[in-house]
Symmetry: C2
Subunit: 320 residues, 2 copies
């Protein structure tokens, strides 16, 4: 049976009252993009700002989802509630299903203090780089105080998405050097905390030295945050309290130093710029189609009008 069309405002009220299915459907609207996503965004915006976002990223196979699951367990043991967004730009699945390898996360599926949702990009014009902050903002507006954003992969998009968190945790493994050589610089740039996960394997100390050396070389100003390096074993939960302490220390530093405000301001400006650019792209698509466009193109092809004059004509409505 088809579900009735979603009314974003009704869903938002239901979600505010704790209806998890309504929350899931709102996230689907955001994922799909378009006008309904904008309505959700407008509802969430004024109520957001109190949540804190922790990004987790690293190469596929680094054990991020096991580590995330262990982190959820730790947060629950501290009596904290948590929402998790698992972002997979390369995934073909859609509609908020739990990823196949997220079996461990299912441990928390029935816990009302935990909300887990996978996201893929569907119709959203700005892709995950716009959909993710919107999803975070919704969860924030719905009262979630800790929001974990886990991204799979170390490509530019994943790094960008992960780097939009308030605190970013980069997950590596012993001997990571070879596998992520390509984007080491990108990861160094966004890392607030390094985790050497699967630390029951060989090579932890070499990896730690490797990271320390890279941090030394990156020539941080003396008053800057130097990312701590924590060793964990996701499977057993070993090191997870230390990881969470490191996140807490970074949060404290960011709040006291003004870094958090600075980052959020920067992100807001970036997002606005992206929305403006996307809107203009939409506008360009509208302009470069239809009967008038065909006529003008024919004039250019027939050498009756040069392409700059033709562009002037097509752009007249937006160059007022």
């Amino acid at each position: 049976m088809a579900r009735p069309p979603a009314d974003p405002e009704a869903l938002f009220q239901a979600a505010r009252n704790g209806d998890r299915a309504a929350t899931a459907r709102l996230l689907s609207l955001i994922e799909r993009g378009g006008d309904p996503a904008r309505v959700v965004g407008r509802l969430a915006y004024p109520m957001s700002g109190d949540g804190y976002t922790v990004g987790l990223t690293g190469a596929p196979g680094a054990g991020k989802s096991t580590l995330t699951s262990a982190t959820i367990g730790h947060l629950r043991s501290l009596g904290l509630e948590v929402a998790v967004l698992a972002i997979d730009p390369s995934s073909p699945f859609t509609g908020g299903a739990i990823l196949g390898d997220r079996v461990r996360m299912q441990d928390h599926a029935t816990d009302p203090g935990v909300f887990i949702r996978s996201m893929a990009t569907r119709g959203h014009l700005g892709g995950l780089s716009l959909a993710t902050p919107e999803a975070v903002r919704l969860l924030d507006a719905l009262g979630r105080r800790w929001i974990l954003v886990e991204t799979v992969g170390v490509g530019q998009v994943e790094v960008e998405v992960a780097g939009k968190a308030d605190t970013t945790v980069v997950v590596v493994n012993p001997g990571w050097g070879d596998s992520v050589q390509a984007n080491k610089a990108g990861l160094m740039e966004i890392a607030d905390v390094f985790v050497i996960n699967k630390a029951d394997r060989k090579g932890v100390e070499e990896t730690r030295r490797d990271l320390e050396q890279m941090l030394d070389l990156s020539d941080l100003p003396h008053d800057a945050w130097r990312p701590p390096i924590v060793a964990t074993v996701g499977n057993t939960g070993q090191g997870v309290p230390e990881l969470w302490d490191a996140v807490g220390a970074h949060r404290q530093f960011a709040e006291q130093s003004g870094l958090l405000v600075e980052r959020r301001n920067f992100r807001a400006a970036e997002e606005l710029r992206e929305i403006v650019a996307n809107r203009l792209r939409e506008r360009a698509r509208e302009l470069c189609t239809g009967e008038r466009w065909d006529e003008v193109t024919n004039d250019v092809v027939g050498h009756r009008v040069d392409p700059w004059s033709a562009a002037d004509e097509m752009l007249a409505p937006v160059e007022a």
Copy 2:
């Protein structure tokens, strides 16, 4: 001594009268982009359309400039005049200097029937993908009937630039398979003629079989052009007449089948679309700056305005 500012119209008249220095300066204006480039484009457009463009592309080291030089020699022996644009997107040099490795081309430097010019992208907003067709159009308007466009490299940009020619020659070497694996598909898509250059080396027949097999697999319609494969030795000129015959055969096919008109129409529409998109990007940059932008961004950061409403406000001037 600084040269006086270039007046595009005066330069265009001088170039029409055969002044090669004026032609070179017009090409510099196109390379630099902006309003003077547009003036040149508007002058050239109505006078262009009779020139024929041959693109040459292939991996670095495939011997394209030696082959180009040999082709120039062949054209001159047939009494034809020719203009050559050598496009190097990765080159740091600017201002129309001859590339260092183009020594062989210097053979033709004093021949009035030959015009050779290297181009790099400087300020041109649309980069080489817009500057190259403008440069071709200028040479066409100045009466050049054959225009060779040589691009260095096999990246996406080079393939795009080369593919905008009327006939595209893809240069490979014996045993090419390994070196250009990454972009074989792109090259297959644009090739109208394949050249196996350096055919005095081993492996010509294997390479020919490799190419034939790829053509078989590409499942061309029965009435489509099937790219012929020519073997050349650029150093000695061996095979160059056959290469030129293959280009001529493709031209005849393209003219008679309607392919040429179709390609030129497609290119004109593409170019117009690119100009429109670039203009909108410029507009976006203008909008996302200045005092009003700072105010709106502050409102978003302060959660007084949501980013969509802020974007609406910034875009009001272009959404009339």
